[in-house]
């Protein structure tokens, strides 16, 4: 399932699962990620799964590349029963005030606003990975008619809660941050909460996500 393992510097393994990005490849990445995390191997200090890669960093004082590579190669991934994924519904308001790039989306996708929202809300998404900024989920796949490139010039500040689209993915900005994704709406939900020590992330890799359209009033009243 891992196509190739190489070293990323002297303190990390770079596991390549192949060039394709689809749920099957990504499910393998997540399976390895969860399995290694659960086993708690000596010296392994961080795991970063992405679409088709898994980076495993380790403490060079305790183990080295050769040793960790051997552990990973000898893992019996089939003995691992993956826990069922969570299903999460995210409320999103698409009022003009929040839907910052709706005009650009209409123009680039050759679709009317209503059709764009219909396509977006009528789908279930799979969480491929989280990261870049704390808790940001990368969700796919968008309908083929909805795929669009990043903004030519990224925004310096994307508001917290913004829901963005790029290529086959949707994401949620868990903090105000710079970013180049096309913003379609905003969620009042706290997607990352650092005070929840055990589970700061609402959405984890492998989870299934649907979006539900809410009004501006609902958005305003959501946290009251």
């Amino acid at each position: 399932m891992i196509k190739n393992i190489s070293n990323l510097g002297d303190a990390a393994l770079y596991c390549d699962f192949g060039e394709d990005v689809n749920k099957e490849v990504n499910s393998n990445v997540i399976k390895y990620f969860k399995n290694i995390k659960e086993k708690n191997f000596k010296g392994i200090i961080n795991l970063t799964p992405s679409y088709n890669k898994l980076i495993i960093s380790f403490d060079l004082k305790k183990v080295n590349f050769k040793e960790v590579k051997k552990i990973i190669e000898n893992l019996d991934i089939n003995e691992f029963k993956s826990e069922s994924s969570k299903k999460i519904e995210i409320p999103v308001c698409c009022a003009d005030f929040f839907s910052l790039d709706i005009k650009r989306l209409e123009k680039k996708l050759f679709l009317k606003k209503d059709k764009i929202y219909e396509n977006f809300f009528n789908k279930e998404y799979f969480c491929y990975m989280t990261g870049f900024i704390a808790g940001m989920p990368f969700l796919g796949d968008l309908d083929k008619s909805m795929r669009i490139n990043r903004l030519e010039t990224p925004r310096v500040k994307v508001p917290k809660g913004s829901v963005g689209l790029t290529e086959q993915f949707a994401n949620i900005y868990t903090f105000e941050s710079p970013g180049g994704w096309n913003i379609i709406g905003n969620t009042p939900i706290e997607v990352f909460n650092s005070s929840k020590i055990d589970n700061p992330n609402l959405i984890s890799p492998g989870d299934l996500v649907t979006f539900k359209q809410i009004s501006l009033t609902d958005h305003k009243n959501y946290n009251e």
């Binding site: 070293n7 002297d10 990620f33 970063t48 060079l60 900024i133 940001m136 650092s194």
Partner: protein
């Protein structure tokens, strides 16, 4: 009486740091922690603390603080200019030498000399909140002690568990500078033209002003990419050197974004990381290629050196 520091001037980038937090990269939280580990452990060992205690890390201009409380020892490590201001006189302090201060004394950490980070440790504990086992402040994600924010003017730092045994200590150690950063080839090394690879290992690069705890930008001759200037987003770790679309390298540092989409030309070896972070904007550096097995041996040597220095403080 409560022991504390009043911060009169916070400095440009003053934070609490320790070894950072692990096992959170998958949710987008980098390890953070001190930039220069050797200077961190030396600071703690000189004042008689456990080497993984929280310390104050500062960059360029450090804090000016007034102490209130029982006699206490402190030390500054790095390459730093600082003064101790007593009631009737002032003295210029030396790094790696402990001093004791009393109620009302001030410490003015004026600046780092031709380096970036310095460390301030006391023979006691800063009273801090920990998040995921670490006090390390990550200002981007607002994580760590002090609500994830840099230290601010006129705030107070409470001190607990003061160590009353006051032994003066001094370590003969000079921070050597490193102009050649040793690098292992990255996973996208072949994205670059032969000319580009040559430039990367032969030419000089200048550290840009746009460098902070997240990353260090470099400027120099264009490193030509002949494959694709973006890769599919994937994990990052500290020390990774990415080359952006404009042909300039960026090195990921302790507060790195956990995922990135630029090709990785190389990774700085672990043994050179402490020295790398001390390169200040405007200074020059060169990269040198090295094999994995040599990098591993250099790290062992670096650890032995550090442990020797620690044992000299005991």
């Amino acid at each position: 009486m409560n022991n504390c520091f009043d911060i009169i001037r916070a400095g440009t980038n003053t934070t609490f740091q320790d070894n950072g937090r692990n096992n959170l990269n998958h949710i987008g939280i980098p390890s953070s922690g001190v930039m220069d580990k050797r200077n961190y452990v030396l600071a703690n060992s000189l004042v008689g603390n456990k080497i993984d205690f929280p310390v104050i890390e500062f960059a360029y201009q450090g804090p000016l603080v007034r102490y209130r409380g029982k006699k206490i020892n402190f030390v500054i490590t790095g390459d730093v200019m600082f003064k101790i201001i007593k009631k009737d006189y002032e003295i210029n302090g030396n790094c790696y030498e402990t001093y004791n201060i009393e109620d009302g004394d001030q410490i003015d950490i004026i600046s780092t000399n031709k380096s970036v980070y310095g460390y301030f440790a006391i023979s006691g504990e800063f009273n801090l909140n920990f998040q995921w086992g670490s006090c390390s402040i990550n200002t981007t994600a607002k994580i760590g002690s002090n609500k994830g924010k840099k230290l601010q003017d006129s705030q107070k730092i409470e001190i607990i568990n003061i160590n009353s045994i006051q032994i003066q200590k001094k370590l003969n150690y000079v921070n050597t500078r490193l102009e050649k950063i040793r690098v292992i080839k990255g996973t996208n090394f072949n994205y670059f033209s032969n000319e580009g690879k040559k430039i990367f290992f032969e030419k000089e690069f200048i550290i840009s002003k746009l460098s902070d705890r997240m990353g260090m930008r470099l400027e120099g001759p264009n490193i030509e990419n002949i494959v694709e200037t973006n890769i599919r987003s994937e994990g990052l770790i500290k020390g990774v050197i990415q080359v952006t679309a404009d042909g300039n390298p960026i090195i990921m540092l302790s507060d790195y974004g956990t995922i990135g989409g630029y090709p990785k030309i190389g990774v700085v070896i672990s043994a050179d990381y402490d020295k790398l972070v001390q390169l200040s904007p405007g200074s020059k550096c060169k990269f040198q290629e090295i094999e994995l097995v040599d990098a591993e041996n250099l790290f062992k040597l670096y650890e032995i050196e550090t442990n020797n220095l620690i044992s000299q403080t005991r």
